[in-house]
C-alpha cells in the first residue's frame, strides 16, 4: 500500500524522548557485552579443561596399554617368565 500523505505525515512525526533512554540502552548493551565476554571466557575454560582432561585420560590409557604390551613382549621373548620360580 502506498503511503498516503496523511500516513506519512503521521509516521514522520517526531516526539520528545527522555535523554535517560540512551544511557539506559548503553548500560544494557554494556551488560550484554560483559555477559557475552564472561560466557566466552567460561566456555574457553570449559573447553580447555575438557581438552586437558581428555588428553590426560588418553595419555594414561596409552601408558597402561604400552606397559601391558611391554609385559607381553617380555613374556614372548622369555616364556619362562610365566612359570613361577621355585
Amino acid at each position: 500500500m502506498n503511503k498516503t500523505s496523511f500516513v506519512s505525515k503521521i509516521s514522520n512525526q517526531q516526539s520528545y524522548y527522555s535523554p535517560d533512554v540512551w544511557s539506559k540502552v548503553e548500560r544494557e548493551l554494556d551488560k550484554k557485552r560483559k555477559r557475552r565476554i564472561l560466557l566466552f571466557f567460561l566456555f574457553s575454560i570449559l573447553l580447555m579443561t575438557s581438552i586437558g582432561l581428555g588428553s590426560f585420560y588418553f595419555s594414561q590409557k596409552n601408558n597402561a596399554s604400552t606397559q601391558q604390551s611391554d609385559i607381553k613382549k617380555q613374556n614372548i621373548e622369555d616364556p619362562t617368565n610365566d612359570i613361577p620360580k621355585p
Partner: protein, 186 residues
C-alpha cells in the same frame, strides 16, 4: 533523515560494536520510534520503556538485517513486536467473524485529513475504541497486512478486518460531523 549510504555506514559501525555509531543511529530514529510507541500507549514512561527495549533489540539483532528492504521498516517492525509483547492489554481484542473488503480506499480520510494538522488527526484516531485504534494504526499507518496483525495480536484475520472496517466507519462519522460543524459555522 539519513541517506542509504549513511545508514549503511552506521549499520556497519553498529555491527562492530562502535558506541558512537549506535548513538547516531539512536538519535536518527528515536523521535519517530517514540511517536510509534505513543500510538499504542499514552503513558510516556511506558513508551520510554518500549523505546529502550526496542533499541536494545535493534542493536542486538542487527546482524539479522539482510538489507533487502528499508532499514526504517525493519526497525519499525522490531518496535511493534516489542510493544505488543510487553503490553498484554493491547492484545485483548474482541473476536468477531464479520468479513469485509480487504482492499481499503483511503480517499475519504485522505481528503479530510490532508486539511488537518497531525495532532488533530492523532487526537481523532485516539478517540477510537482501543481495539479499532490498534488495528487502524497497524494496518493504515504501519502498513501491516491482516495476516500479520492477526499473528501479532493472536486474533482471527476476520477480526482484524472487522475492527478496521468499524474503525474507518467511526472515523468517517467523526469526520463528517466535524465537516458539517465547519460548514455550518462558516
Amino acid at each position: 533523515m539519513l541517506t542509504i549510504q549513511e545508514e549503511e555506514v552506521l549499520i556497519r559501525g553498529c555491527l562492530t560494536g562502535e558506541r558512537s555509531a549506535q548513538k547516531l543511529l539512536f538519535d536518527a530514529f528515536a523521535g519517530k520510534m517514540k511517536t510509534l510507541c505513543m500510538r499504542y500507549s499514552k503513558d510516556p514512561s511506558f513508551a520510554d520503556d518500549n523505546l529502550q527495549e526496542g533499541f536494545i533489540k535493534v542493536f542486538t539483532n542487527l546482524n539479522q538485517f539482510k538489507g533487502s528492504g528499508s532499514f526504517e521498516g525493519w526497525v519499525q517492525r522490531i518496535f511493534i513486536h516489542t510493544i505488543f509483547r510487553s503490553n498484554s492489554k493491547i492484545k485483548s481484542l474482541q473476536s468477531s467473524n464479520d468479513r469485509k473488503e480487504d482492499i481499503i480506499d483511503l480517499t475519504f480520510e485522505e481528503n479530510v485529513f490532508s486539511k488537518m494538522s497531525v495532532s488533530n488527526i492523532m487526537n481523532l484516531i485516539e478517540q477510537l475504541p482501543h481495539g479499532y485504534k490498534t488495528v487502524f494504526n497497524l494496518f493504515v499507518i504501519e502498513g501491516f497486512s491482516h495476516k500479520e496483525i492477526a499473528d501479532l495480536l493472536k486474533i482471527d484475520e476476520a477480526t482484524s478486518r472487522s475492527q478496521l472496517f468499524k474503525a474507518r466507519k467511526q472515523l468517517q462519522e467523526m469526520l463528517t460531523s466535524i465537516e458539517s460543524i465547519k460548514s455550518y459555522t462558516h
